[in-house]
Amino acid sequence: MAVPLARRILVYEWRRFLPATISVAFSGVLMIVQGALLLGIVSANALYVTQSGADLWIGFPGTQSADLGRAIDPGIAANLYMDPRIARVEALLLGAGDWRGARGGGTSVTLVGIDPRPDGVGLSKAMSPPVRVLLQEPGAVLVDETDLDKLATDIGQKAEINGHLVRVVGTTRNLRAMGGVNVVASLGTARMLDSAISASDSVTYYLAKVPEPRNISAVHAHLSSIPGSAGFEIWTAGELAGLSVRYWLLESGAGIGFVFATVIAMLVGTLITSQTLMAAVAASITQYATLRALGVSFPELRKIVIEQSGWVGAVGLGMGLVCSLLAAALARLNDIPFELRAGMMLFSAAVVLSVALVAGLLALRRLRHADPAALLR
């Protein structure tokens, strides 16, 4: 095998490539962690949808985000029950409450009323069926395991919501709300606790389960076309989740701020990576000029730089990946919403790697038009 010049330079002069390697690692971590936090927080906004097993959601027309649902006309229910393609119809209620517990003082909570049957679809992914049936007892509520401290309560303890006595009978998973606190109760308990939804037929959403996935769009279309459909709107679970995420990202100040911070993180990482790598390549410019003088063609030089940038990128990304996994573990320990997804890691890796390659090639551009003789003076 020929003398592997690119790797020899890299190994022998590793100190020169170290800053670039570390900045690749840091840009990688920065992008992955920012992205994971963003995804985590964003998906927290669609939790009611993503933690439920329903295929179609029927709610107030023009609802911008799942948590902003308003009471709808219950007349639609008849159409839902009649459709043979729908296996289950269930109501979901959103209300508000003022929690008073052991600590004293009030905490605003969001009341989520669900059907407490063991096979219910509302928030079915946030609790196990045995916990769910505990809600059948009047006054029973569930709070998220991450909110126990915030509410100064624990399983088995009592508290008041809007002046009514409740008892915490269990906890939910993955239902930590952004900002507020979710308290889950049965439909009946929720109506008892919040007078604004106390009417026995008030409903915020109807959830429908369509067992045959290929029927979903047909049911969707059919329901939208029935007379009186102006009083409600129908979304697939994906549509409503996407709507909620977009609303938070684009309409809420916090979302835009976070997106902005992520973009800045990417720019800073890109800039630092490219600058350090260009410096590393520029520091070897006389070696490349010597090769040019010896008659080595420009494409061959490009190969050397691409190989070196590739190694710098790969080693840096490896380091970055380890750090990201550590960050994910740290986030998990502290119950921070953090969604480390493979797609995002691949995307970040691709961005950082292409930045490294482009920067290396840009640094080499000086050699293309300058006389090698001038660089060797």
């Binding site: 095998m1 020929a2 003398v3 010049l5 020899r8 330079i9 190994v11 022998y12 002069e13 006389t286 070696q287 010597t290 090769l291 040019r292 003088a293 010896l294 008659g295 080595v296 063609s297 420009f298 061959e300 006389d371 090698p372 003789a373 001038a374 060797l376 003076r377």
Partner: protein, 229 residues
Amino acid sequence: MLSKSYTVQNIRTDALRDVSLDLWAGELSLIIGPSGCGKSTLLSLMSGLSRPDSGTVYAAGVELSALSDAERDAFRLAHCGFVFQGFNLFPALTALEQVQIPLDYLKVPQDRAARRAAEALDMVGLWHRRHLRPAELSGGEKQRVAIARALVKRPSLLFADEPTSALDSTNGGTVTDLLRRIAHATGAVVACVSHDPRLIARADRVLEMEDGRLLRDRRPAHSEPMEPL
């Protein structure tokens, strides 16, 4: 008639004014003159490192001044050896690997390349230093490695730009003699540029330059007989 000028910040320097010369194979031609008189410029035009503003360069039967950048790269790779004032070795490579690099880019198979590199290193008397990196070699040894790197491809043209000015006079003499022996033994055109008049006695032919012009062209009588390579 070669001319070349550089313009830096709107100030034009005529590095070469209407220079015309022929170099012969099998001898060491020394181009001598004060610093800044255009010697390096002449060398880079003759070797195809850069292109003249006007005039033509013929080398090894090719009109070099008419070739594109990529074609001149290929020409240098195939025909030219270079020795630089600052050695310009690769810090990361051992002496043997330095010498093998040109053959790798000429796509010589590995076993043959390694053998030829070893022979070239032996020819400059550095076989025993083959595993050392430039940082571990003396200036004279570095320049001999550079010469081995230049001659390993058996070039028909060998250019040396001030090869001795970073060396003491003993090492400088060794290096110049080595260049001359290579010229005689391989029949290559060997052109060496220097501002050091002590080299005159060791050259077959001396071309004197001043201020971008060629002044004199002579053949010194030799005091020291050359031993064969």
